[in-house]
């Protein structure tokens, strides 16, 4: 290779490469991210131990492995558990704070948060019971629309189009499913029209954002309002007048997979449920692999990171963005169908009530990856499920606090406190050929 010869043939045998970096020792910043996190975890741990602990009644907390109070259960004294798990959080926080176990930072952090959650649960459940299977399946069910919405976001944003209109796509999907599902008395036609509803919103978003370079966030917000107004109007004028013919869609059937459904805990949650749950979970895998392993995925990511580079190797930047936004519309629309075909069985004005924004939060909290979005959606789903449990159980903690959690978590994530959140570099930037 020519370069080697060239530099070796330099006339100076005394040549030495200079001053290569052992970087000069600057006072390392003491309050790095791990230590700041440590402070937070110690604080929540202390709250759990010192505040929750004394408040918790010294009665047995039962976590039953079924859908009700019956059967086997994990039991612990409420007060003891509260204090014990609180201490776990304190210790985990202490480890972070002391700057130990840096390689296992995420694990220790998760442990701390888990300790806090369990401490909280022990306090709330003391003297009562919490059915684990019911909680798990409720969490999954609540997470389904969030996962689908967040996946729609992943598709759009990884190719560089910000999709704030997930809420609108949900509403259109829910409405379309209810209306067409009722008129055709078919769940599947309902699901199909839900997807069409999502695509309608996606198409407007795509054309305005990609073709006419309108600010994508503004378009998204406006589309949400459009969907809200339109479905609200049609609901009042059409569905309310004759619910029988327009707003009683058949419910999505629950399918039980023989064998698998008999596995304790996991079986009833995963294998005795409806198609949308499976669809959401399968899509997470499919989109993950497609993004990382296929031509489409490589190009999508290139377009979202550096569209000019993609253009110079002959990729149709705008075409790919259209495709992805529309695909996202299909998925988000199907997510909307969940509300009418699975959850309630009829459409209602503004029935999604901000779920689209929680999906958006899950997308960001999950760092724009399918599995991240799934994790975040499950976390948010759990918070919602717990909120319902608390209000039913007559807890002293207002359930609204738990409903705040997704937004709080997102603020924390976006503020960069938990890991570095890096959006696709060209996210939200229209591509203009120079």
């Amino acid at each position: 290779m020519s370069t080697t010869e060239q530099s070796e043939s330099q006339p100076s045998p005394t040549t030495a490469t200079a001053a290569n970096p052992t970087p000069t020792t600057a006072p390392a910043r003491f309050w790095d991210r791990q230590r700041r996190l440590g402070v937070g975890v110690v604080l929540i741990g202390l709250i759990a131990t010192v505040v929750f602990g004394p408040l918790a009644p010294s009665k047995t907390a039962r976590f039953t492995l079924s859908e009700d109070a019956a059967g086997a259960a994990l039991s612990i004294n409420g007060q003891l558990g509260t204090i014990l798990f609180g201490l776990v959080a304190v210790v985990a926080g202490g480890v972070l704070l002391a700057g130990l176990a840096r390689r296992f930072q995420t694990t220790v952090l998760s442990l701390g948060i888990l300790g806090f959650v369990l401490s909280f649960l022990c306090w709330q459940v003391a003297g009562k019971f919490l059915p684990l299977v019911d909680t798990a399946s409720g969490t999954l069910q609540l997470a389904v629309p969030l996962v689908l919405g967040a996946l729609a976001g992943v598709l759009g944003e990884r190719s560089g189009v910000v999709n704030v209109a997930i809420e609108g796509q949900f509403l259109m999907g829910a409405f379309g499913a209810a209306l067409v599902g009722t008129m055709a008395t078919s769940v599947w036609l309902g699901l199909f029209s839900a997807a069409i509803g999502g695509v309608l919103i996606a198409a407007i978003l795509a054309v305005l954002a990609i073709r006419y370079l309108v600010d994508q966030v503004v378009v998204g917000i406006v589309l949400n309002l459009l969907a809200l107004g339109m479905t609200g109007f049609l609901y009042e004028r059409l569905m309310q007048t004759d619910a029988q013919s327009y707003n009683q869609p058949p419910r999505m059937p629950e399918w039980r997979i023989p064998g698998l459904a008999d596995i304790p805990v996991v079986g009833p949650v995963l294998f005795d449920t409806n198609l949308l749950v499976w669809l959401a979970l399968i899509l997470v895998f499919v989109i993950h692999f497609a993004l990382t392993r296929t031509r489409w995925g490589l190009r999508t990511r290139a377009v979202g990171e550096h569209p000019t580079a993609a253009d110079t190797v002959g990729i149709r930047v705008r075409g790919l963005r259209y495709l992805n936004v529309l695909l996202g519309g299909v998925i988000a629309g199907a997510g909307g169908a969940y509300f009418t075909l699975v959850a309630t069985g009829s459409f209602n004005k503004n029935m999604t009530a901000g779920a689209g924004f929680i999906a958006l939060a899950a997308l960001i909290f999950g760092r724009w990856t399918p599995f991240g979005a799934l994790g975040a959606a499950l976390f948010f789903g759990f918070a919602q499920k717990l909120a319902t449990y608390l209000s039913v159980a007559g807890s002293s903690v207002p359930s609204q606090f738990l409903n705040m959690l997704p937004y709080l978590a997102t603020i924390i994530a976006v503020a960069g406190l938990v890991g570095r959140v890096r959006a696709p570099a060209a996210d939200g930037q229209p591509y203009i050929k120079s």
């Binding site: 080697t4 330099q10 001053a19 970096p21 600057a26 392993r293 490589l298 580079a309 110079t312």
Partner: protein, 522 residues
């Protein structure tokens, strides 16, 4: 109109230099050839057949490849992914990564362009990124390779290697269009030179043409490439930097223990390949970036902790390296831009209101004094050429009494006429007793302006040398190679000597030898 009836013919196996000033229309012409822009008139013939390129895809299909001035690489992708992008081989629907890697290695070996297919592009030095770009073009089987200002970001040594690669490619029968405004390189490598000025072909000349003639063809009049100045009369120490440590945006050490003194009445030039900490050094002095350690003093007054506004008001003038981003507000008028730093002071205004009459009067004076070519002081700055925008910045900064004047890349993207003018003003500022710090990645500029040259490499000042030092020696320093023999006349003013351990101690170090190419940046 950027291109006005240009004719260009490139023969097979030929290195054809396209010479012209910034803004002469070289890149516009090549972007048409590569399908990124569509010509309004005229045609492109490839091997005698007329072709229209509606997109880069068509150009690639016709055997044309291009290495852009700003690299077209996705930073978060690996080298292999970047090279495969757009021409991916798939097997059963999935990307065939192994084959992509193999292809990269094959091409890289065949043309002597070492690249690591698994490295992330964002971690590569600029020189290596450029090799990736060339390999990317070569894997697409191009017959014609366009290199747009490829040497702008390279050390003299890396430039030498690139020219070597170009020779090899030409010998293998590829045609190369080499876009540049650097005369020396053109003369060294080109088989033929086409000069472009204001969107027109001026002439096509052989490489034997003398440099002066090429320069005057490029500019359209006789130019004086030399900077004339009297010997410096250094006075008191104005700027004193010691033990300065600054991190870049990613938290990576950018300035790594710099000690520097600039005296009144002298120009200290900082030479070095772009990205070796110069930007962060200047930003730290201007209060735009918080240093991790060290002190910065102007006339014994500490600057660290002061706001940028305060620093400017204490008599520091600053020409930022990125003019359109940090130098001017493009949507504002020339007059407004000229008082951006003083709008709230008499006579231009106070805390509550502006005095438009005073602003207008001052603007008329400056436009006159600094030869700013604008239709009116009330025209927005975006309507001005790069050179005149830069004159607006220089005029603003030199309009108040200064103790220290910092100019970062003062003539980047500026036409030759304006370069002469700006250089003249910098020298004049020195002569009235201001301490001047000039940072530039153009070695010619530093050597011409500076009374002392500090060579910066990987965040450290490797040496401070006199401007008469041979180019090759400075070039080696820019690549991080110090020669003990060069030391006596030039007291090394590097970082902390105690920490300068033996080379080759850790993984982030390159293997010696071909490492020279790797050590461009970061």
């Amino acid at each position: 109109m950027a291109n006005d009836h240009i004719d260009l013919t490139v023969e097979p196996g030929e290195v054809h230099a396209l010479l012209g000033e910034n803004g002469a229309g070289k890149s516009t012409l090549m972007n048409q050839l590569y399908g990124l822009l569509q010509p309004d008139e005229g045609e492109v013939l490839v091997d005698g057949v007329a072709r229209t390129f509606r997109s880069p895809r068509d150009a690639i299909a016709a055997g044309i490849g291009m290495v852009h001035q700003h690299f077209m690489l996705v930073p978060v992708f690996t080298v292999a992914e970047n090279i495969a992008l757009g021409a991916e081989k798939a097997r059963a629907g999935f990307l065939d990564r192994r084959r992509a890697r193999r292809e990269v290695l094959e091409v890289s070996e065949r043309y002597g362009l070492p690249v690591d297919p698994d490295a992330l592009v964002e971690n590569l030095p600029v020189g290596a990124q450029q090799r990736v770009e060339i390999v990317k073009a070569l894997t697409r089987d191009v017959d014609l390779l366009i290199l747009d200002e490829p040497t702008a970001v390279l050390t003299p040594q890396e430039t030498g290697e690139l020219l070597e690669v170009m020779r090899g490619l030409a010998a293998a029968g590829k045609s190369i269009v080499f876009i540049t405004h650097k005369l020396k390189e053109v003369k060294e490598i080109a088989d033929r030179i086409t000069v472009i000025r204001r969107g027109r072909t001026v002439s096509s000349v052989p490489p034997e043409t003398p440099e002066e003639e090429l320069a005057s063809l490029m500019v359209g009049r006789a130019v004086n490439l030399e900077i004339t100045k009297a010997p410096a009369e250094p006075g008191r120490e104005v700027l004193k930097i010691s033990g300065l440590i600054v991190d870049d945006d990613r938290g990576v050490r950018a300035v790594d223990g710099v000690d520097l003194v600039v005296r009144a009445g002298e120009v200290l030039g900082v030479a070095g390949v772009q990205g070796n900490g110069q930007t962060e050094l200047v930003e730290a002095v201007m209060g735009l970036r918080e240093p991790r350690a060290g002190t910065i003093q102007v006339d014994n007054e500490d600057l660290i902790g002061m706001t940028t506004k305060h620093i400017l008001r204490s008599g520091v003038g600053y020409v930022p390296e990125d003019r359109s981003h940090d130098g001017v507000v493009k949507e504002f008028t020339v007059a407004e831009n000229l008082v951006l730093d003083q709008y709230d002071r008499a006579p231009y205004g106070n805390a509550w209101r502006l005095n438009p009459a005073a602003v207008a009067t001052a603007a008329r004076e400056r436009v006159e004094q600094f030869d700013i070519r604008t239709s009116s002081p009330d025209a927005t700055v975006s309507t001005l050429s790069g050179g005149n925008q830069q004159k607006v910045v220089v005029a603003r900064e030199l309009s108040r009494p200064l103790r220290l004047f910092i100019a970062a890349q003062p003539t980047r993207g500026v036409d030759v006429g304006s370069i002469e003018f700006i250089h003249g003003r910098i020298v004049r500022e020195r002569d009235v007793g201001t301490a001047v710090l000039v940072v530039s990645s153009e070695l010619d500029e530093v050597a011409g302006l500076a009374d002392r040259i500090a060579v910066m490499y990987r965040g450290r000042i490797l040496a401070i040398v006199s401007p008469d030092t041979p180019r090759e020696e400075i070039g080696l320093l820019m690549a991080g190679i110090t020669e003990p023999t060069a030391a006596p006349a030039t007291p090394a003013d590097g970082g902390d000597p105690a920490s300068e351990g033996p080379a080759g101690d850790d993984a982030d170090d390159d293997v010696d030898g071909h490492g020279v190419a790797e050590k461009g940046i970061k």
